[in-house]
């Protein structure tokens, strides 16, 4: 269908565009971003006056719970929620059940997403078979099956296996996603080790659990030269270490979860299990350091770290609850709030959600270039709204941001030229 999005403020950081232009779409692709396109007859026109028109968001970490945990959520339910949140590409970490360590699982996930038709889902493959850190996964076949990167989740005690896996990944030009937490230092903990964990009697996870892992893997990256991406940073010190590594020319990037930019250890003071996340919420200084990392482009992407849960998963004493926040629908609102609170330029805010992550994944998305898939998000920047039980779309209702008021709301989402979400 031929479509025209007219009158909006087009924000496309990848192409350095920030002006009022129209977008012309045909065959699911962007034909042009211009004031006028000769000979174009739109079958459908979206009036975007007073709105922002940006590339569809890319989320580097979203658990969709399928296959294996369908009682929490499904690919269908969560990609639909993603569409409502303006997200058109999601990366799914490998710890599904079965684990994403064979092409069959990778293909299953993509097929389910294809059937649902709301968003592109990119499976991140397991670095080792069964995520056990014993044998390498079939990375060449997994890449062929559509996995843009490999990751290890959970314990990784054997440094030699890590080295070899990184070397093998580099052989196949796969980016290695690293979720830095030293297994032993973090093993029993459920909260940042500090004042609040001491007062509440919660076993702590020290800052060193993250920095020890970052230091070790930076040493391996330096040795191997593999392209590596540190996901979900939580500490100021890790930001500094990665900034230093980038300055030294190492091929490393990083992301942070949106909630880490807004919450701190103080938010668990009442044993609020909705704030039980791993890595844990840390101090105000860490939060400020992460914000500064985003500003300085040490952190190139903001992700949701979406982890939808059934209600029971959060109904227990703090440490016995399952960690994670249902976060797709707060990714953009919390990022826009960062723009408002922290004076992060709007184009940079959008970049961290679009071309920043696209660059990390090395995919053609997150931009409005002619020829690119028409993945587009339209935002009413003045619309004030509240996240509540009626507005949330995800099957997981586990979010500490329930009841928060936000400014700026997605009104339309286009995925490959199809309107997959409209607000009104």
């Amino acid at each position: 269908m031929k479509m025209r999005i007219s009158g909006g403020r087009v924000l496309d950081p990848a192409n350095g565009i920030d002006e009022n232009l129209d977008i012309f779409i045909g065959d699911g692709k962007i034909l042009a971003v211009a004031a006028e396109l000769d000979g174009f007859n739109a079958e459908h026109d979206i009036d975007a006056s007073g709105r922002w028109v940006i590339p569809g968001l890319i989320d580097l970490s979203a658990r969709l719970r399928e296959p294996g945990h369908e009682h929490k959520a499904t690919i269908e339910s969560e990609t639909r929620a993603a569409a409502a949140a303006g997200i058109t590409t999601l990366c799914c970490p490998p710890d599904t059940n079965p684990i994403i360590d064979t092409p069959a699982v990778a293909e299953l996930i993509q097929n389910r997403a294809e059937q649902a038709g709301y968003a592109n889902v990119l499976p991140i493959a397991a670095l080792t078979q069964g995520l056990k850190s014993e044998q390498l996964s079939e990375m060449a076949a997994l890449k062929q099956a559509g996995c843009p990167a490999v990751a290890n989740v959970g314990p990784l005690a054997n440094t030699q296996i890590q080295r070899l896996a990184m070397e093998y990944a580099q052989t196949h030009k796969l980016t290695v996603f690293i979720n830095p937490q030293d297994y032993w230092l973090g093993k029993h903990g459920c909260a940042h080790e500090g004042k609040v964990s001491t007062r509440l009697g919660l076993p702590g996870i020290p800052v060193a659990a993250e920095t020890a892992a970052v230091a070790r893997d930076l040493a391996l990256i330096e040795l191997i030269g593999v392209k590596a991406h540190f996901t979900r940073l939580s500490t100021l010190r890790a930001v500094r270490m990665i900034a230093r590594a980038q300055y030294d020319g190492l091929p490393v990037t990083a992301d942070v979860c949106a909630h880490q930019l807004h919450l701190t250890e103080m938010d668990i003071s009442d044993y609020d299990s909705l704030c039980h996340v791993i890595p844990p919420l840390r101090t105000q200084r860490d939060r400020d350091g992460l914000r500064e990392g985003v500003k300085q482009n040490v952190i190139q992407a903001i992700c949701s770290d979406h982890q939808p849960h059934e209600a029971d998963a959060k109904l227990a004493p703090f440490c016995s609850t399952q960690p994670g926040i249902s976060a797709l629908e707060t990714l953009l609102p919390l990022s826009l709030r960062l723009h408002e609170e922290d004076n992060l330029p709007l184009s940079e805010t959008i970049r961290r959600l679009t071309s920043g992550p696209a660059h990390i994944l090395n995919i053609d998305a997150g931009n409005l270039s002619p020829g690119s898939p028409a993945d587009i998000c339209i935002i009413d920047p003045e619309r004030i709204w509240r996240l509540d039980q009626n507005s949330i779309q995800s099957q997981g209702r586990n979010t500490p941001f329930m009841g928060w008021e936000f400014k700026g709301r997605v009104t339309h989402t286009l995925y490959r030229g199809n309107i997959v979400y409209t607000l009104d």
Partner: protein, 324 residues
């Protein structure tokens, strides 16, 4: 919002010392003082809680604490139900909330809860019906507030003014819910100086934020102390590589008559029990003239009577409000 205090400022649940002010703590001690008289009489019962049902809900094995709670409830003339919920029962798929709902259906008025998870009592109080009061009998490594109050009671019986005192807590501060509650209570009552003594491995992060001085050597730690509280050392601390051996622990931190000399001449020695003789202290100290360990046990009943009767009073008022 303070979950523990009702709209009239009275004790509703007793979950933690954290969040309670000096007035409420003093009220508990004064009430306990009146019950201490009862427990010393030949007829040891008062009819305050006649017809009330109290459930001792213990998810962690305990004999001593459970027994004193049971005795306290019986002396208040309440009906007592002891539930020892083994961990295996909850792993069968019954959640903590299921257990709670079942017991609520038996028209319970109060839960006395012990659980391995920090925050468990808080969780139960949040999810119980409004007329039910919850008493924390120890949650993970968080708090054990009735133990701390009986310790405060013991100190008050032996010493005059908290502001003049130097109180020292020796041992596994990291894992100790007793230590946390004691520190908070001592501070709320205005104690002059509070010290903790242990090797680094047994001191929690940023403990100084709770208002204590940290010492790693026993001798400097107990110098001129008025009150010395020794904590119990669990055997599993050796397996966790927190300490090399009981032997070395006793060499460095064990309390002996000899070492006690640097404390004030009228210093008292306390222990929440049960004592590992030859680990935390030698028998001479445990059974000596400075030791008030057995008094702690008997005061424990009066203090628990006080807390139970105070919380129940607030709970009954809420029950009355509901039925109107």
């Amino acid at each position: 919002m303070n979950l523990q205090v009702d709209e009239n400022g009275r004790l509703r649940h007793f979950l933690s010392i954290d969040g309670l002010n000096r007035d409420i703590l003093t009220d508990i001690l004064d009430t306990a003082e009146s019950f201490a008289g009862v427990t010393e009489q030949s007829i040891k019962k008062v009819p305050l809680l006649r017809g009330k049902t109290i459930v001792n809900l213990f998810f962690e094995p305990s004999t001593r604490t459970r027994t004193t709670f049971e005795l306290a409830a019986k002396r208040l003339s309440a009906d007592v139900l002891n539930m020892n919920v083994s961990v295996s029962a909850t792993t069968k798929g019954e959640t903590l909330l299921d257990t709670l709902r079942n017991l609520e259906a038996m028209h319970t008025d109060m839960f006395v809860v012990r659980h391995v998870d920090s925050g468990a009592a808080h969780f139960i109080a949040t999810h119980s019906q409004p007329h039910i009061s919850v008493i924390n009998a120890g949650d993970g490594r968080h708090e054990h507030p009735t133990q701390a109050m009986l310790d405060m009671f013991t100190i008050r019986r032996h010493k005059q003014d908290f502001r003049e005192l130097t109180v020292v807590i020796v041992g596994d501060i990291l894992h100790s819910r007793v230590a946390r509650s004691q520190i908070l209570a001592l501070n709320a009552l205005g104690t002059g100086e509070i010290r903790v003594v242990a090797p680094r491995t047994l001191i929690p992060a940023e403990i100084d934020s709770l208002g204590v001085q940290v010492h790693h050597h026993l001798q400097s730690g107990i110098r001129d102390a008025d009150v010395i509280i020794m904590l119990r050392l669990q055997n599993e601390r050796m397996q966790g590589a927190l300490l090399p051996s009981e032997h070395e622990y006793f060499q460095l931190y064990g309390l002996t008559e000899e070492r006690l000399r640097v404390a004030k001449s009228d210093a008292i020695v306390m222990h929440p029990g049960p004592i590992n003789r030859g680990v935390e202290m030698d028998s001479q100290v445990a059974d000596g003239s400075r030791s008030v360990i057995l008094q702690q046990v008997s005061y424990g009943i009066a203090v628990r009577m006080a807390v139970m009767s105070m919380a129940m009073r607030s709970g009954q008022q809420r029950k009355g409000d509901e039925s109107q």
